[in-house]
């Protein structure tokens, strides 16, 4: 398993609530790992038991995957499988893999309680494959736990702010 020591906020940080720029570094690291298709390293940013979900377009921020159809609603087992699958040639949609650029901005710490933070950010993610470029945009919610050895993602929710998933047709990348 890869390490995340190159995270600016990982090893040896000095207690207390991380600053916004430390959080930004963490989100930029996540974006870079995805763009470099370092998916195991990306998964290592998540705590065990973490979740990753993407509601349908035009859903509310507090949409519930137990009573509403989502695009992605991964528990930790499905999240692990998603990564395993994306590395296989049989994941045809991402083999050969697409090129991506994950851009993160408007980062805000919206809640801080104990060792947990809720971060809201705005994203623009480009995906290019087969000479076609698609743009996903929206906002992320990262629930993050501050640990002695760095930050871990407890949940990541990506809200797509397009009016529909058109013309993309898929969220086969991690947005």
């Amino acid at each position: 398993m890869a390490t995340i020591e190159h995270a600016g906020v990982s090893a040896g940080r000095q207690g207390g609530t991380p600053t916004r720029s430390e959080i930004e570094d963490f989100l930029y690291l996540e974006a870079q790992l995805l763009d470099e298709w370092k998916l195991d390293e990306w998964l290592a940013l998540f705590a065990e038991g973490a979740t990753y979900d993407v509601p349908t377009t035009r859903a509310d921020d507090d949409a519930d995957s137990a009573d509403q159809l989502f695009l992605v609603a991964d528990d930790y087992a499905r999240l692990q499988h998603r990564v395993r699958r994306l590395k296989k040639p049989g994941a045809h949609s991402e083999w050969p893999r697409s090129r991506t650029a994950h851009s993160i901005s408007n980062v805000r710490i919206v809640e801080a309680e104990g060792d947990e933070l809720l971060i809201r950010s705005v994203f623009v993610t480009y995906r290019a494959k087969n000479d076609v470029t698609d743009c996903y945009f929206g906002h992320h919610f990262h629930r993050i736990r501050v640990q002695a050895d760095g930050l871990r993602i407890l949940s990541k929710r990506s809200m797509l702010d397009m009016s529909s998933l058109r013309p993309h047709g898929r969220v086969s990348i991690i947005v």
């Binding site: 035009r58 859903a59 995957s65 009573d67 989502f70 609603a73 045809h92 076609v132 993309h168």
Partner: protein, 428 residues
Amino acid sequence: MATAFEKHPTGTGWVVEDHDSFRVARTTFTDQDVLERERGGIFDRCWLYIGHESELPNPNDFVRRSVGGRDLIFNRDRKGDYHAFFNSCPHRGAAVVREDKGSSISFKCFYHGWSFNNNGAFATRFAAGTYPDDFNKDGCANLVSVPRLAGYAGFWFVNFDANAESLEDYLAGAKDFLQVVADHAADGMEIVGGIQEYSVRANWKLLVENSFDGYHAHETHSTYLEYLVDAIGGPAELFPSRGNISRAYDLGNGHAVIEGPAPWGRPVAQWIPAWGEDGREEIAAIYAELEKRLGKERAEQVAYGNRNLLIFPNLVINDIMAITVRTFYPEQPDYMNVNSWALAPKGEARHFRKRRLDNFLEFLGPGGFATPDDVEALESCQRSYRNRAAAGWNDISRGMLRDEPLADDEAQMRAFWREWDRRVAKAG
């Protein structure tokens, strides 16, 4: 009832049925002229799905829908009667409904303010002398209704041809399979909130074929099947008396279905070890209710049969690890818009519903472990049709000599193409 597959004489020349092969010309996926003929011969003449009754539970409810290239309002009036209107103000044409859904006793155009009761009647009062006294005597200021609207087993359809045959005649053998879906629950079925609205850069008929293609699963969806081995925690509890064969059935008028057993869990009602002993008891209780209400044979069909159903031309109801209702329309020969919904028993317990939606997302939809790979395959086919001058034909021959075609044969697609050919030939 299902009938044997019959051969029909070809019409357009694009569908060639010979003694040793069944082929379709790739120009049918690429040419603008073909799309125009499909619009005239198919989308302007066939019954098209507009929505499920559960989406309009109360009087005054409405949804906005894009159907067959039209912008429509599907609603219930104050008395509860169902309507389908063209979403265009009779005055200048602006949309009178601009939300996805809601509840309203009237609709008001935002441009000049013309308003309408939810039965379509013009409801604006003007000062005397503004319009002639007999203005709207002929109904010219009312919302325009879609010529035909009818429902069957909770599924509502429109037809833009006032002279079309009845919905029931049109549905033919597909009626029974719509009823099988409705039979899942004693209290009826409902569309779950949230629509997967996406596109595929491919011709719409490629998704028709893909939606009931039993042949591609092992090759295209190997990563899903590998996931399944881990996720289900052991073999599903299949119903031995139903056998292990999946078959295809021609339902008439271009409708067809494949039906048979599958290794995944079914919320109604096939248990897998991953659902635990509590889950086993819950599934057993669901099955017992089915058998009491429907009898043994039908209960087994509902619980242990998996169905990929096509209602010609473009309504897919796949009753597999969950139930998806999917419809799709061409915007261009190489581009379609897809809408997918999840259908579930009304009032399903929260953890049952969660189990169902997890099942759905593991396979289905733009973020699932299978659908994106279908999209990749369809778009790859479409891109390769640029070679059509030299490589001009698709082969749809698999199992063509079998009297009782299997689900991984292609008889269900031949049924679609024969009806397509007949209708497009007439529209020429």
